[in-house]
């Protein structure tokens, strides 16, 4: 008798637990197990999101507002777009990490003549971007399913072997490959950044969406500094993200940035991006431990370091 009693209580408790843990009104529209994770598309009212469920708490990677598809729901995508301050007329763009296709769509819309290479490791994400987020690459865009590091290394290797360099390199690189749950450690090393730098044009700008909160912050910062020298940190107060903005050449000074912000502001405001507000949040000062060990292909425990608090 008591056994049934306890079984009843356990079942009831389980039912309550599962109903609480499920978020109230997010509806799962699509679920697909891929080679790398489980790709989920969920919808809350009119917000459609792409999420990867590696752990139980699924974090949304890319969201659109179906009523206003241009509005960038996520602060970090808006932050990535702020890179245009540093290069207002990109011609050849590399996007690593496709997500819902938000970034390449916006760039293609702003600059119809631009050439975009988008690299995504997971073919399921490419399909989901097409089928659920209505991502349609513009004629100048090519989407490649590959590991970002391998794509970059292959390009770098081809470029190094060409005697005459006809390929002028990418003038804008948007690195958006870190999803917060698991870091591809081979894409956060000095060697990777060196390869990336070698396929950029002389005035090329790199923006990397990455972390601000753990011990990894210092190591990652030291690694970027070891390859690019100076860089800017762009952080919004409400997020755990930061966007590292750096380039091969000297970065423009604050006055030049303010001029460009005024110019670009009207063009970007339809995406919910207000550049003039962002200006003061972009910092060039060095606030990381300069003695932090640089991450290399030989030493890249990024996931272990991320576990340690900053």
């Amino acid at each position: 008798m008591t056994r049934w009693y306890w079984l009843g209580i356990t079942l009831a408790a389980l039912m309550i637990l599962t109903s609480v843990s499920r978020s109230a009104d997010a509806k799962i529209v699509h679920r697909e197990r891929s080679l790398y994770s489980t790709v989920l598309v969920n919808k809350t009212d009119n917000i459609l999101c792409l999420a990867f469920s590696i752990k139980r708490d699924q974090r949304n990677q890319s969201c659109i507002d179906t009523r206003a598809p241009r509005d960038m729901v996520f602060s970090y995508t808006r932050m990535m777009m702020a890179t245009l301050l540093f290069n207002p007329e990109p011609r050849r763009v590399l996007v690593i990490g496709l997500g819902g296709g938000t970034l390449p769509s916006a760039i293609a819309e702003l600059y119809p003549d631009v050439i975009i290479d988008a690299v995504e490791i997971d073919s399921a994400v490419v399909e989901v971007a097409r089928n659920f987020f209505n991502y349609r690459p513009h004629p100048g865009t090519s989407v490649t399913v590959a590991d970002g590091r391998l794509f970059v290394k292959r390009r770098a290797s081809l470029r190094a072997r060409q005697e005459v360099q006809k390929d002028p390199g990418y003038d804008l690189v948007l690195l958006d490959a870190f999803n917060g749950d698991y870091i591809p450690e081979h894409m956060m090393t000095r060697e990777f950044l060196t390869e990336l730098r070698s396929i950029m044009s002389d005035d090329g700008i790199l923006a990397a969406n990455t972390f601000a909160l753990s011990d990894l912050y210092h190591h990652e910062s030291a690694t970027y500094a070891s390859v690019f020298g100076q860089f800017h940190n762009f952080r919004l107060p409400e997020t755990g993200n930061r966007v590292i903005i750096t380039g091969k050449d000297d970065l423009p000074n604050p006055v030049a940035l303010a001029d460009r912000a005024a110019e670009l502001d009207t063009r970007l405001s339809r995406y919910g991006i207000f550049l003039t507000d962002y200006l003061e949040l972009i910092e060039g000062e060095q606030d990381w431990k300069t003695d932090a060990r640089v991450l290399t292909d030989q030493y890249s425990p990024a996931n272990l370091l991320q576990g340690a608090p900053r």
């Binding site: 080679l35 590991d147 030989q298 030493y299």
Partner: protein
């Protein structure tokens, strides 16, 4: 059965533990070595595990055959010495080997498989010899053979577990990959020296005994 009292049982078990430790540590590092050239997808791990398993299986066969011809701690010590010598080049030439494979083979599946073959076959075959050879060194009679083999599986697999844990939790956080490889090569060298010393102490009689049994 003189050799049973003369063969240092704890030492052979400790050496089998060391062999297991080194094998799994290298396997784990293998994934990290290959990642910059071939990614870290499931097929890269598939390549590495395939090559390690196939190499170990060949090593087991060789170890068994070897134990039919020569039975001595000196031979056992030599296996560790050769293991140490063949592991060391990974810290020197792995980069250029992988760069060559990367430029030759575009598909990362076959690239990672080829690179794993080049890098890991030789040392892993050598390390595979240790387990069956240890069984031969310690088994004195048919009745105890199961217990001896069971104990050896226990220590060598426990060594593998510890090698996996130490490498993935700590070594990669403390050291560069090449330093760990050199360290593991050094450990094999020490193991070899220990076995040579023990062989020197027990003299040549146990070998004759062993050959007769």
């Amino acid at each position: 059965m003189i050799h049973r009292t003369l063969i240092n049982r704890p030492l052979v078990n400790l050496l089998a533990f060391t062999g297991g430790f080194v094998i799994m540590s290298v396997e784990l590092l293998g994934g990290r070595m290959l990642a910059p050239y071939f990614g870290s997808s499931v097929y890269v791990w598939g390549s590495i595990i395939t090559v390690f398993m196939a190499s170990l299986s060949v090593g087991y066969l060789l170890g068994g055959q070897l134990s039919m011809r020569w039975v001595s701690l000196r031979v056992f010590a030599s296996v560790f010495l050769i293991g140490s010598i063949t592991l060391y080049p990974l810290s020197l030439a792995a980069e250029s080997a992988m760069a060559w494979v990367f430029d030759t083979i575009v598909d990362p599946r076959y690239g990672s498989l080829t690179a794993s073959l080049i890098l890991f076959v030789v040392p892993t075959v050598i390390l595979g010899i240790i387990s069956p050879y240890s069984v031969r060194l310690l088994v004195g009679s048919a009745e105890e053979s199961g217990r001896v083999a069971g104990t050896l599986y226990f220590v060598s697999t426990l060594g593998s577990a510890m090698g996996t844990l130490m490498t993935s939790f700590y070594f990669v956080l403390w050291f560069e990959i090449n330093d760990v490889i050199r360290g593991l090569s050094g450990v094999l060298l020490l193991a070899s020296i220990a076995a040579f010393v023990a062989a020197g102490r027990s003299g040549s009689r146990p070998q004759e005994e062993a050959q007769r049994s």
